[in-house]
Symmetry: C2
Subunit: 272 residues, 2 copies
DNA sequence: CAAATAGTGTCTCTAAGACAATATCAC
DNA sequence: GTGATATTGTCTTAGAGACACTATTTG
């Protein structure tokens, strides 16, 4: 008849084999390109943060920021820490994307990764100075359905082009996972992680859950619409977007200035 | 100048501290209660599988089935294995629910759990004989929103009643996580896992992703409607449900028999 | 004024919900 | 026939998409 106290005293956790645990984070940002015409608004591109690996394995390939879980922290804290280290910015939101545990996914051994998606506003990244380290870069995303269940994922940064092809495998449940058919220049199974994170991002954008974090506190409805359009890769009529989004925002009394056209009212996200 | 091969040869994974990794699975089933009237259909209740813990810690509390990840398997395989061991049935679907890694969640030490939700049909469970072990039981679920962000979770099996209160904490993203305010009779943080799994289940039921797995291959539309109503805890008009579901099912030429009323056509899930 | 974005009004079409009516079985 | 579920038809209403129009700024 042993008490719980006695049990725990004699319990040796080392008796079980344990894997190493990492987190990988797909940090998304929407980047606005410069315009040639002073009157025209800039175009937007969805981008994801990648790190050029300086060490084996996958040396010189690009990988998602991530690292080993340290004792005393949650996986969420670990994920936020990694993003902070690379960008100087603490992301507004963090979403679990899935577990990646297929044996052999990491040549170093039994390493399991919990993946997250996070969103960072371009403004906050700029404030912290464009991280001059050449090994951390924002890659523009081109993500496209190709055929019945295949997806194309193209990531580009300057001359660097990463290309992956993935097949969607229905998990039986709503959520789907991806199998890598081809992955050029991307380390580990990170192409699948990015594809899964993108699916989650789009899913969240459907009900406007994930779009606000791309923008600063106060924003114009047009900017918000651009975010939605960029993520979903669609085009929306302004009148319709404004009608639908009106339940989720509150007006401020501030306006944009000096844009070469009519000023736009600034809005805030409506709390709850 | 070392090659990747050399690097891996010298790499010692043991240099890093590692947690133990478990999976916990919330297996859902819809149970039909016996009716008094031969003409009336039976009522349905959503239920979840719990195991009475025979060992410390949380001895004599009820817990989700789960266990330690073993080398060479994925967390999904581990989750399926656990359910199979307890029910004899391989679940039709498995959905990742989240990672639970808060320090102190398991008194045995640094133990991190990847949680899953799965769905089992009542028919398949019955075929494998009502698992006579008294330590594994299906608990009826009563899940209700209470106030702004609190939820009540009541689990009952015969005389045994487990009661938990949880607070929803928005993860900033679409998905939400739960903080346990009170948890009576449930081991570890399993009340939060069940609540998260229930949210995922309901989310998946919205677009009919998760409802088919509760039923056998061929089913009546009324049975399918009962599943939807039971999960969402709502009531739907048959005419409207049939109109919406028609895109997701295909008719067979078979009908139910001897039910005391008009026979119902059997349907199958439409592939893709 | 020209060019560009900001913002509003309204028409149409579709989908969801409510409700009514009919069909068919076991007893 | 009675009581139950099965199944179809249609009216009404809310919401999404399309489109036309007005407003306001900078150069």
């Amino acid at each position: 008849m042993d008490s719980e106290k006695d049990f725990l005293k004699n319990y040796r956790i080392e008796d079980y084999e344990r894997p190493s645990l990492t987190t990988d984070v797909a940090a998304f940002m929407i980047r606005s390109e410069e315009s040639d015409n002073y009157k025209k608004d800039s175009k937007s591109r969805l981008s994801v943060l990648l790190i050029k690996r300086g060490a084996h394995p996958y040396k010189d390939s690009w990988a998602l920021p991530g690292g080993f879980l340290t004792p005393g922290e949650t996986v969420e804290e670990c994920a936020l820490r990694e993003i902070k280290e690379e960008t100087g910015v603490l992301p507004a939101s963090l979403m679990p994307v899935g577990v990646f545990s297929k044996p052999g996914r990491d040549p170093r051994g039994w390493i399991i990764s919990n993946a997250f998606a996070s969103i960072i506003s371009e403004e906050s990244v700029k404030q912290h100075g464009g991280d001059d380290a050449a090994d951390a870069q924002w890659f523009d995303i081109w993500y496209e359905r190709k055929g019945r269940s295949d997806y194309l994922l193209d990531l580009s940064f300057g001359e660097t082009l990463l290309h992956a092809v993935l097949t969607e495998v229905s998990g039986g449940f709503g959520r789907s996972s991806f199998k890598i058919k081809k992955s050029g220049g991307l380390a580990f199974d990170h192409a699948a992680i990015i594809a899964t994170a993108l699916s989650a991002l789009r899913e969240g954008a459907k009900n406007y859950d994930t779009i606000f974090d791309f923008l600063p506190d106060k924003f114009t409805l047009t900017a918000l619409q651009r975010v939605q359009e960029t993520i979903m890769n669609i085009s929306i009529l302004p009148a319709n977007f404004r009608r639908k989004i009106s339940d989720y925002v509150v007006e401020t009394e501030e306006y944009t200035q000096g844009a070469g056209h009519r000023p736009a009212r600034l809005y805030r996200r409506k709390s709850l």
